[in-house]
């Protein structure tokens, strides 16, 4: 009802009493929907993709640096691909910095903006274009005039918007929603996605012509697990950053560094940055050894270990779906409950210690303990 009445508004809903997880999801989406410039103002950049410089000594990252230097001064549209957390935005900012373009760097997360708002966000709207459009509004393309627009998560752009974006890339003109005038735009376009766009083209969810327009100059950032030699330099850079921020000088033992290098980092450099920041907060003495690391990073980490049946160290997690199927939600909830119970037992009921073991915040664990009706001494 309200959405219809206020089509310009970006609504989120929370049910009372508010749960930590729900609130966390909403806050994440809100942060993501703000441009990077705004996000930096609010919470710093330590948790973002590994800093401003392109860090890494692997041949893969040296190639990425070479490609950036080569493409930056040109006008070519660039498509950056890579898993979440690999630092795509850092690459885009570097391209903008080296481009010599005087205009602004403007970012938009195409996956975080509701479909009905995306056109207005990108191209702006005229006063009265729709109910609630009380003023003329300039879109991101115009804000990036003479600079660079970063279309993040382009793979999540709805099909109708893909058509409109294609036209802009072809004609270099935009039209505000509700407007009648075509406005020429001098904007460098860089897009990024963690999705497999050729696959999306093949299954019809992404336009082939737009894909070819965007991928004039493709840059692929390999996941961190494929370049473990980059972990030590990344850790060095990140520890310097947390020292500047928190005044904590982290000292990582060779064994702990080895554990970091042997971990698969599904969240890539962002996950590593988050861990370093968490260690700086939790370990004011700065010493980081193997036992300090959260559970999945310890060499002897045992996925799904229980009292009755412990898996050998390092053995991969396997699970068999019962013939009759299962209720996945209930199964995962039970698994979570058992993990929390084990962590609390091991920590003698000290919630902070159990939270460290589980790699979650204390407040998150308290909420989960309440939800699962588990009791603790801490």
């Amino acid at each position: 009802m309200l959405r219809k009445e206020f089509p310009w508004a970006r609504f989120y809903t929370l049910r009372s009493p508010v749960q930590f997880d729900d609130l966390g999801d909403v806050l994440e989406e809100i942060w993501a929907s703000h441009s990077p410039r705004r996000r930096d103002d609010g919470r710093g950049s330590a948790a973002q993709s590994g800093g401003e410089a392109i860090i890494g000594e692997s041949s893969a990252m040296q190639s990425v640096r070479t490609l950036i230097e080569r493409v930056a001064p040109s006008q070519a549209t660039v498509l950056i691909t890579g898993e979440s957390g690999t630092g795509k935005e850092v690459v885009v900012r570097q391209i903008h910095r080296l481009s010599g373009r005087k205009g602004a760097f403007v970012a938009i997360n195409c996956g975080a903006i509701p479909e009905h708002l995306l056109e207005s966000e990108l191209f702006g709207h005229e006063r009265g274009a729709f109910t609630g459009a009380v003023n003329r509004r300039i879109g991101r393309f115009e804000l990036a005039m003479g600079g660079t627009i970063f279309l993040d998560e382009i793979g999540d752009m709805p099909m109708p918007m893909q058509v409109k974006l294609l036209r802009v890339l072809q004609e270099r003109m935009i039209e505000r929603v509700g407007g009648t005038v075509s406005i020429p735009v001098d904007v460098r376009v860089v897009a990024a996605t963690h999705r497999d766009l050729p696959e999306h083209v093949a299954n019809g969810s992404f336009r082939e012509d737009l894909y070819y327009r965007l991928s004039v100059f493709p840059i692929e950032i390999p996941p961190l697990r494929e370049r473990p030699e980059d972990i030590a330099p990344l850790v060095r850079e990140m520890t310097e950053r947390v020292y500047r921020r928190y005044g904590v000088e982290l000292s990582i033992t060779p064994e702990a560094m080895s554990a970091l290098e042997n971990y698969s980092w599904p969240g890539n450099a962002r996950e590593l940055a988050n861990l370093i920041e968490r260690l700086a907060v939790l370990r004011p003495d700065g010493r980081v050894d193997q036992d300090t690391l959260p559970w999945p990073l310890r060499p002897a980490a045992r996925p799904l270990a229980t009292n009755e049946q412990e898996l050998p160290a390092g053995e991969a997690l396997t699970a068999t779906l019962p013939a009759g199927g299962l209720d996945l939600k209930e199964y995962l909830a039970e698994l979570e409950r058992e993990m929390i119970r084990s962590a609390l037992e091991r920590a003698d009921g000290v919630v902070q210690q159990a939270a460290d073991e589980l790699g979650v915040r204390r407040t998150t664990l308290v909420e989960k303990i309440n939800r699962h009706k588990l009791r603790s001494n801490g």
């Binding site: 206020f6 508004a9 970006r10 609504f11 966390g24 806050l27 809100i30 705004r38």
Partner: protein, 89 residues
Amino acid sequence: MTSSLLFMIVDDTVDRAENLKELIEFMDVPQVRVALPENWRSRIGDSRLAAVFLSDDLDGDRLRRLIADVGEHDPNVPIVLVNHAERHA
């Protein structure tokens, strides 16, 4: 000095708003303020709004007026509707 991002909770039940503020601050959000529907704009100060939390049990007209006000201030600001419907059902 760069103005920082502000999360604003607008509600006329102050205790309820303060509880939500505490939860949001637990999530490492640095700047959260509580305001009454009548004075929320004056509470923004030099900050930039990151989001506005509104209780959906404000009576219809007040809620709509608040949403329109937020849009007038900045239509890009996300609006989080906190649903208290079950409590009143």
